[in-house]
Assembly symmetry: C2
Homo-oligomer: 195 residues x 2
C-alpha cells in the first residue's frame, strides 16, 4: 500500500532500476523505510502496470540488462496527491517494552544485558545520523533541508534511547530494587479440581 510511495519518491529524483532503488533503500531512504529487493521488483512491476512509471531495457554486456524506470506525470501527480492526504503517525512496536510490562516474569539479568547492548546500538546509530547530518550542513537548498530534518528525527530518537536505557539501568540496579514488594500476581492456585 505504501511501499509504492516510497519507490515513487526514489524515482522522482531520476530514472532508476530496481537494483538502484534497492540500493537506495539500504542507504538514505532506508533510514525510514526498508524493503528487500524481492519486494521492490514485485512492487515496481505493479507501478509500471498502473502507469506511474515507464520501463526501458538498457542492454549491457557481461551483466544482465538494466531495466530502468522513469516516473510519469501520473506518478508525480500520485506523489503530490499523497502528500496532501493526512498521514497517521506510526505507533511504537517493540517487544522489549513488552518485557518491561511483564518484568516480574522475565530474567532481570537478561533485561539488563539487553539494556547495555541497546545503549551501544543506539549510540552507533546516533553517530551515523550525525555524520549524514553534517554532510548536509551549510547548504541552502530545500532538498537538503528536508533530508536534514528527517535525520534530526533519527538523532533525537537514538539519543532518547541511550538516555532512557542508561536511566533504566540505574533504576533496575540490584541495590535499587532490593527492597521492593515483588507481588506475584498469579500462582497456580493450589491445584485445579481435576485429578
Amino acid at each position: 500500500m505504501s511501499l509504492k510511495h516510497a519507490i515513487l519518491v526514489a524515482l522522482s529524483e531520476g530514472p532508476k532500476s530496481g537494483y538502484d532503488v534497492a540500493k537506495q533503500f539500504d542507504e538514505s531512504i532506508g533510514f525510514f523505510w526498508r524493503a528487500r529487493h524481492s519486494q521492490i521488483y514485485r512492487e515496481m512491476g505493479k507501478i509500471k502496470e498502473s502507469g506511474l512509471a515507464v520501463a526501458e531495457e538498457v542492454p549491457q554486456s557481461g551483466k544482465p540488462n538494466r531495466i530502468v524506470f522513469t516516473i510519469t506525470d501520473a506518478g508525480r501527480e500520485t506523489l503530490l496527491q499523497w502528500s496532501r492526504e493526512p498521514s497517521e503517525p506510526p505507533e511504537m512496536k517493540d517487544l522489549f517494552l513488552v518485557q518491561f510490562h511483564g518484568i516480574e516474569h522475565i530474567d532481570l539479568d537478561g533485561l539488563r544485558q539487553n539494556l547495555m547492548r541497546r545503549i551501544e546500538t543506539h549510540q552507533d546509530r546516533h553517530a551515523e545520523y550525525v555524520v549524514k547530518h553534517q554532510l548536509l550542513e551549510d547548504t541552502n537548498s530545500l532538498a537538503d533541508l528536508g533530508q536534514q530534518l528527517a535525520l534530526e528525527v533519527g538523532m533525537r530518537w537514538e539519543y532518547q534511547w541511550v538516555d532512557w536505557c542508561t536511566k533504566a539501568l540505574e533504576r533496575l540496579a540490584p541495590e535499587a530494587i532490593a527492597g521492593m514488594t515483588n507481588v506475584v500476581p498469579f500462582q497456580k492456585e493450589g491445584k485445579k479440581n481435576a485429578e
Copy 2:
C-alpha cells in the same frame, strides 16, 4: 514469530481467554504491541498446540463459552529464555519522513498541514501516557516500575515529536525558505531519442 511472546507475557499475569488478551492489547500492552482478535485466536491455537499453555472451556449461559488459557511451565520457560536473547531495537518506519527526503517533489502545504496535525496527535498521546504513568506513582513494586519505565519511553517519544514538528514548521515557513536554491535534480532531459 513474536506475537507469541507478547501473548505469553499477557498469560503470565494470569489465565486469560483470547478475548481477554485482545482487550489487554487494546489497553496496556497495546502501547507497544498490537494485534487483532483474528490474529490472537490464531496464535493462541498455536501456543496451545506447542504446549506453552493449556486451554479449558468455561461454560457460560447466554454467551458463548469462554476458552481460558493457562500458561504452562514450558511457557514460562520460553518467556525466560526469550528475555535472555539479544533483542534487536526496531527500526523507524515512517513514510512521512520519506516525504521529507523527497520534499521538492511533494506538496509543501500538505506537508505543513500534516506537521500541524501530528503536533496535536502526539500531544494527545503524550497526555495519555502521562495519565497512565501517574497512576503508577508512589508504588514500590517491581511490576509497576517496569510499566512506568515502558511508559516513559512513550512519553519521551511523543514529546520529541511535538518538539520536532514545531521546529520543522518554523524552518519550513514560507519566509524561511524564500531564498533557497531549489535545485531540481532531474528533469525530462530534452526528450529521449525515440520520436
